[in-house]
């Protein structure tokens, strides 16, 4: 616990320090990034120890706030979320120090580092807090600090709009959490140990699902993600998408531990939410042209995968199938960690691309792997990992969820509990196929072929400080893919904590699952070895032969130009066309006319259907309703005196009656 407190102190000190020395050239960067890195290194040690099975620790200090207490508790669940938080904060600080240099002199960097440290500290406290008041204060600090980070480039209209949407969404979510904690603490204490869930566990579950789901980005509460993530600087998007939205998953899991025996319909609900988020998230990602917007939607997809794993686990739990429960929860939790690694990596690489080419439009890129080899290879690893391909980490967590689903399909024979299992398997397979489409598009169009514009042709590889974080995360993706079984084996305390299953049963199921994951890792290593051997054999064979270079075969056409290449939109077109009902893509077409056409244009735009057809009408209606109250606000003192008098009169009458 001491190390965690030192970490929090370091975050606080570097936050304040970067503000105090705001005018001193590079000082804010050194202080802000340095404190963030040191604090993270300090905190990651106890977090890893507890996540790997060390006993939980807690710290409790009385606090003057009503119902509040400074009650921090580090158990396996908290530790499991803390590890990626510290890791991502450290690499994002390393990256941001270089990334923000471009803005030095043009914008004040000190506030950015201040809020970055506040965000890190508040995420840590959210995960550690064992008192509702402390939790909600940290939750709010997290929302506000990230709001200021998102609006870094507030001179742009689109950024201000994104920040606004994010702020509104955060507070709608927080309102549900407030109600949740009031209900949970209705017998006096707001400490997590004394929560009372004797009645209405279903209502509490729904409140938690909406409140935490808004942060996590479940469809249709995801609308802020595709706005906020592209608007923020890339290291901020990486932290937000990789770890901050996961605090929503953490909160949901924490609440589940209070709610007593899990009911089957919670699992069903989470399966439905997960499938919807997964399928819609990946479809919307596929339809995007903006690299960071694509990644934001893919976060929605991955949160859907996590929810699906939890749903399968809860259905298994309520149907009395421990292996299904354990594999489902283990897969979901591991996917939280894995997504932190590859999504952090992909956002940082997207930042590199934006930094080098000054555009995020996929259709304006191309050929970057020759000009930016380091970014290219790490993006490839991230893209393959996020598509769930072996031998990388994404496959390991998805494999566990598949295992849970297939075990459920086989074991839960007669009961209707097998329906969500089968839906999960089919939906998961669809999501997997679409994810491959989405990320072959992102990587293939942006990094391969010929550069499509001058921007892409002029790109240069970024500085080492911006590459190193990507390499660290990519190494994490490979290592987790090969040695994931060791992580799975150590998840026993965590999963028995969340599922309330007896530790022996959990250990047995985990050992089974880890056995399969170990085989996957072994075959993954074999695959890598085989690729190396085949490549060497191929290189040796070609070394003695004639290897020529020519233009790409274009069916006899000898002068292919870069504009003739397939674009991201055309690549995704068959799928977006098939799912047009769900996507509602709008097209602007100016067809070529006449014998000698001069001008033609084709442009597609896929806005978020939920924002367009659900939230915008609702918010407009609310706005109109509120506008009708406007005559009350006349700005004349007499009217306000009148209101006071009427209120007093009404109160008097009420008291008399």
């Amino acid at each position: 616990m001491t190390a965690l407190l030192i970490a929090l102190l370091l975050f606080g000190a570097s936050a304040v320090g970067s503000l105090i020395f705001a005018q001193r050239g590079r000082w804010p960067t050194f202080l802000g990034a340095g404190g963030l890195i040191l604090g993270s290194l300090c905190g990651i040690i106890p977090a890893t120890q507890v996540a790997l099975g060390a006993p939980p620790q807690s710290l409790r200090i009385a606090w003057d706030v009503p119902y509040g207490s400074l009650y921090l508790h580090l158990d396996a669940l908290a530790a499991f979320f803390l590890v990626p938080i510290f890791l991502l904060c450290a690499v994002a600080a390393l990256y941001g120090a270089e990334y923000l240099e471009e803005y030095r002199g043009k914008k004040a960097l000190a506030p950015s580092w201040f809020f970055m440290n506040v965000l890190a500290a508040s995420m840590v406290v959210v995960v550690l807090a064992h008192n509702a008041v402390l939790f909600l204060m940290a939750w709010e600090a997290m929302a506000l600090s990230s709001f200021f980070l998102v609006t870094f480039e507030d001179e742009k209209e689109s950024t201000r709009r994104a920040g606004w949407i994010y702020l509104v969404a955060s507070h709608i979510g927080a309102a549900f959490l407030l109600a949740l904690f009031v209900l949970l603490g209705r017998h006096g204490s707001l400490d997590f140990d004394h929560f009372d869930s004797s009645a209405g566990a279903g209502v509490l579950f729904l409140l938690a699902l909406v409140g935490f789901g808004t942060k996590a980005g479940f469809v249709p509460l995801h609308v802020w993600l595709p706005e906020a993530h592209p608007a923020a600087p890339s290291h901020v998007s990486a932290v937000m998408s990789a770890v901050m939205i996961k605090t929503g998953i953490y909160g949901l899991l924490r609440i589940l531990t209070f709610l007593g025996p899990a009911q089957a319909w919670w699992g069903w609900t989470l399966c439905v939410v997960g499938l919807t988020s997964g399928v819609l998230g990946v479809l919307l990602a596929l339809a995007q042209h903006d690299l960071k917007r694509l990644l934001a939607y893919s976060s929605v997809e991955n949160i859907g995968i996590v929810a699906l794993g939890l749903g399968v686990g809860i259905v298994g739990l309520s149907a009395g199938a421990p292996f299904v429960a354990v594999a489902g929860f283990a897969g979901a939790l591991l996917h939280v960690l894995n997504h932190a690694l590859f999504k952090g990596l992909l956002f940082l690489d997207a930042g590199n691309v934006a930094h080098a080419t000054h555009t995020r439009e996929i259709d304006h890129l191309g050929g970057l792997i020759r000009r930016m080899p380091g970014t290219g290879v790490t993006f490839l690893i991230g893209a393959a990992a996020i598509s769930g391909l072996p031998p990388l980490n994404g496959f390991v967590s998805e494999f566990l969820i598949y295992l849970a689903g297939f075990k459920g399909a086989a074991a839960l024979d007669a009961s209707s509990s097998s329906v969500p299992m089968l839906a999960a398997i089919a939906g998961f397979a669809l999501i997997g196929g679409l994810a491959v489409a989405c990320f072959t598009k992102a990587f293939g169009i942006a990094f391969l072929g010929h550069p499509r514009t001058e921007h892409a042709a002029q790109a240069h590889e970024v500085e080492f400080a911006m590459l190193a974080p990507g390499f660290i995360l990519a190494a994490g993706c490979v290592l987790m893919g090969l040695f994931g079984c060791y992580v799975v084996r150590s998840m026993g305390p965590l999963i028995s904590n969340v599922t309330h299953l007896p530790p022996i049963q959990v250990a047995q199921a985990l050992a089974n699952a880890a056995g399969s994951v170990a085989e996957v890792g072994f075959l993954g290593a074999m695959l890598i070895g085989l690729v190396v051997v085949l490549s060497l054999a191929r290189a040796a064979a070609l070394a003695r032969r004639r290897v020529a270079t020519a233009v790409t075969w274009d069916c006899g056409y000898a002068r292919p130009a870069s504009r003739m290449q397939y674009t991201a939109s055309s690549f995704a077109q068959p799928l977006t066309e098939t799912f047009a009902m769900l996507l509602r893509t709008r097209k602007v077409v100016t067809a070529p006319r006449g014998l000698f056409p001069q001008h033609a244009e084709f442009h597609t735009r896929t806005d978020d259907p939920y924002q367009r057809y659900l939230f915008r009408p609702v918010f407009h209606a609310v706005g109109r309703g509120m506008a009708s109250l406007r005559p009350l606000q006349q700005g004349k003192v007499q009217f306000y005196v009148l209101y006071i008098a009427i209120t007093l009169l009404a109160l008097l009458l009420w008291q008399l009656a």
């Binding site: 191309g366 050929g367 792997i369 393959a384 598509s387 769930g388 391909l389 072996p390 496959f395 494999f399 598949y402 295992l403 689903g405 297939f406 075990k407 399909a409 086989a410 089968l422 089919a426 397979a429 669809l430 997997g432 196929g433 679409l434 491959v436 489409a437 072959t440 598009k441 990587f443 293939g444 391969l448 072929g449 056995g515 399969s516 085989e519 072994f522 075959l523 074999m526 690729v531 085949l534 191929r538 064979a541 070609l542 032969r545 004639r546 290897v547 020529a548 270079t549 020519a550 790409t552 075969w553 069916c555 292919p560 870069s562 290449q565 397939y566 055309s570 690549f571 068959p574 799928l575």
Partner: protein, 300 residues
């Protein structure tokens, strides 16, 4: 971690191209031609493997890695495939998930290698490939789920070993529907008519063949050989379900399975001779039929 026998892998490596020539031969006979010799696919691979290579000036190392990773992932997938009573090298709970995702890995790299050439034809093929795969994967997984539910095992070897004539007598509809779904997936994944025509001469209408237009020499040899291995993998699963021969003598079972693969090859050839390729827009509908068939198999 290695338990079973190498035999299924060796068999696949040795005989996979032969199944392709069986298809070609039966098509030739149907068309009234003699057709190329049965060993032609081996000769093609051997000839290509000994050649030099031509690379497009648009391509990077990704283009050269693609075929290698595609072949390697298929070879690893084949270590999980049982054949005619012989256990595969490795078997564990959920191994079939790894098989499907290894094939997805191969597809990922075939697709990005195609995009690396910057050719719009290859981009078109790549786009179609990922589109159809997104529909084929759910169908394949649901068919696997039906088999898992029918037999109660979670690993390919015991699942296929548990399908027997007794299973067919008491669950014929389930197995029949599963088999139908598997056959559609087999045709789609291996670029056969009615999904794709491997022998067409118009790049615009191709799917798989157009993605590999720019590959040459040893790279193309790996692609051709990998395609044969992939077909063998699907054919083995289909044959193990359709003709569950468990006589007690593994050699006898192997012989029966080989015979069944021969029949499947001839049947594919007959199918290709008797119908035309579907319009591309119809292909997702065909794959949806496979999904529905597999879902029905599960509902029964």
């Amino acid at each position: 971690m290695i338990s079973g026998s190498l035999f299924p892998l060796i068999l696949a490596a040795a005989l996979a191209p032969l199944m392709q020539s069986v298809i070609v031969r039966s098509k030739s006979v149907m068309a009234g031609r003699v057709g190329p010799p049965l060993l032609q696919p081996y000769r093609d691979v051997w000839k290509l493997a000994r050649k030099g290579a031509v690379y497009s000036n648009a391509t990077s190392w990704i283009f050269q890695m693609g075929p290698t990773i595609g072949l390697a992932s298929l070879l690893v997938a084949l270590t999980l495939l049982p054949f005619g009573g012989f256990a595969p090298l490795s078997a564990f709970s959920g191994d079939f998930v790894l098989i499907v995702y290894l094939m997805a890995l191969g597809r990922f790299f075939t697709v990005v290698a195609a995009l690396d050439t910057g050719s719009s034809f290859e981009g078109m093929g790549a786009s179609r490939e990922v589109t159809f795969a997104a529909f084929a994967e759910p169908a394949f997984f649901l068919a696997l789920a039906a088999l898992v539910r029918q037999t109660g095992y979670l690993s390919l070897n015991p699942v296929l070993a548990a399908v027997s004539t007794a299973t067919w007598t008491h669950a014929a509809p389930t197995l029949g529907l599963t088999l139908a779904a598997l056959i559609i997936v087999f045709l789609a994944e291996n670029a056969r008519i009615p999904v794709d025509d491997p022998t067409t001469h118009l790049e615009l209408t191709m799917i798989h063949e157009v993605m590999v237009l720019d590959h040459s020499g040893p790279d193309f040899a790996m692609i051709e050989y990998g395609a044969a291995l992939k077909m063998w993998l699907f054919a083995t699963i289909i044959v193990s379900v359709a003709v569950p021969c468990h006589s007690g003598n593994r050699w006898l079972d192997t012989g029966a399975a080989l015979l069944a693969i021969l029949v499947l090859g001839v049947a594919t050839g007959l199918l290709e001779s008797s119908m035309a390729r579907l319009r591309l827009l119809r292909v997702p509908q065909l794959l949806l039929v496979a999904i529905v068939l597999a879902a029905l198999a599960l509902a029964l």
